[in-house]
Assembly symmetry: C2
DNA sequence: ACCCATGGTTCATTATTATCACCATCGGCA
DNA sequence: TGCCGATGGTGATAATAATGAACCATGGGT
């Protein structure tokens, strides 16, 4: 269904940093003809998924998403559960916690919480988490179809710090390790001086639906802290997984102790 | 763009009361062929807008909406503003207040608040507000293209109470009155023994983006209360309108006094 | 053991969509 | 002033994509 793909592709170009896009620019971004872009936009407008700024003529996301997000949340209350769980995880570990779901080409943060103390890792909830450079991403890929990983590796693998791993084979190794261990510990991969420990949470079919993680300043990392965080993240994963009717993978289950 | 219309049409069949739908049933609801439905669903799944329950094989809304709703809200924070304003409106009028945005075939509640007192009107936030039977709906139609009203009147006009007006011409009269007055007062239209007073809030192009309303038990309705509510709802409309960068219609403006 | 529903797929037929060229308008700029 | 290169937007034909009847396989109900 190429037409549908194109329509969805258009939507993915709207971001918090670029919420309004003109016709020509959007056509350029999506690599479509202007006329095609316009016709798709007209359809999306009809269904309230796109709105047009009548003054600047630029297009932006519409209210339809508010509605469908509410419907989705009314039945699969991921955000609600994730918010609760992240709060709990932050409180018990005294470190920054965050949860994410699978987005089109990265993980999207759906809940985050920073503890009240001196040095903490700050999360920008609007920033997508690249699969290859974050603990969450690796943990997520580890418990999904290999196709998804390969698709992720075919993308441009951004180098966010000088330690970011961008070699596909090395990343495959990390994913393999995460699959065995049930978690992944990433250091300096996305932000300097930060260590992230992540695990997936699961769908009913056993695949990963998203990830939950704790991010700590690398200076505070110790065996004791990692052990504690690991156990609590596992408990958090179990909590979210059961809340959405998923089945926990044994490799994560065993970490709860 | 018929293909896009079909895809969007599919999405509108998912509701809080029927969050998971099987292939055959969805095809029947949307009046499409099974094969077509399946192909569209596959595309939507690829973009995370639909998920499939691997056990029951039924389809449900995906996490993509969570993401895009966040993007939309990050730039046009309607829900946040509406929540604040509704809280304020409820507190100052001591009656139930609620705000809604345009949905595919009705208004969708995005915020609501009931006061702490004996008899109050309860709002089910998941229930769509039909255009023809609610004060919000009439007020919304009054400040939009006539095409939209005609489309709304072509739908099945449900009779929710024995007082619900279902005659298209009578409804057109009500909309006309609302346009002149800047508000609409509806009694017993959607729920028995309830009076609703609603006004639209506006987009930058001057069209209605949604509605804000106060619902009170009919027994409490008095000229004084209506006058007070009218002024405060107008103020609330102004607040939301300016917050989203819209332009207030003079007929609503004049009600603030 | 049968029936009828479901989910899912295939391929010849058919309808939809892409493309390019075009127009009108706007804001800079000399 | 007039020109340039953007922009948003549109229409007719060529090229492509979507359709749907018929077809499995499966599973629950009588």
């Amino acid at each position: 269904m190429k037409t549908v793909d194109k329509a969805m592709g258009l939507l993915s170009h709207f971001t918090p940093t670029q919420p309004e896009i003109g016709l020509s620019e959007l056509a350029r971004l999506a690599d479509l003809d202007k006329a095609t872009t316009r016709r798709i936009l007209k359809s999306l407008i009809k269904h309230h998924f796109i709105e047009q700024n009548q003054i600047t003529k630029a297009y932006r996301l519409g209210s339809g998403f508010l509605h469908l997000a509410r419907v989705r949340e009314a039945t699969t209350p991921i955000t609600a559960i994730a918010t609760q769980t992240v709060d709990w995880l932050c409180e018990i570990t005294h470190e920054t916690a965050h949860a994410s779901v699978a987005g089109p080409s990265a993980l999207i943060t759906i809940a985050h919480k920073e503890p009240h103390r001196g040095t903490v890792v700050m999360i920008d909830p609007t920033e997508p988490l690249p699969f290859h450079a974050t603990a969450s991403g690796i943990a997520f890929l580890a418990f999904n179809e290999p196709d998804l990983m390969e698709a992720a590796l075919r993308q441009q693998l951004g180098k966010y710090t000088k330690f970011t791993e961008t070699d596909p084979d090395a990343i495959r190794q990390r994913v393999l390790k995460a699959k065995e261990d049930g978690f992944y510990l990433n250091e300096h991969g996305f932000e300097s001086d930060v260590a992230g420990l992540a695990m997936p949470y699961f769908n009913a079919d056993g695949s990963a639906a998203g990830a939950i993680a704790v991010a700590m300043p690398i200076t505070r990392k110790s065996d004791e802290l990692v052990t504690k965080v690991k156990r609590n993240v596992a408990a958090a994963s179990a909590r979210i997984t059961t809340a959405i009717g998923g089945v926990l993978h044994p490799n994560v289950q065993k970490l709860i102790r």
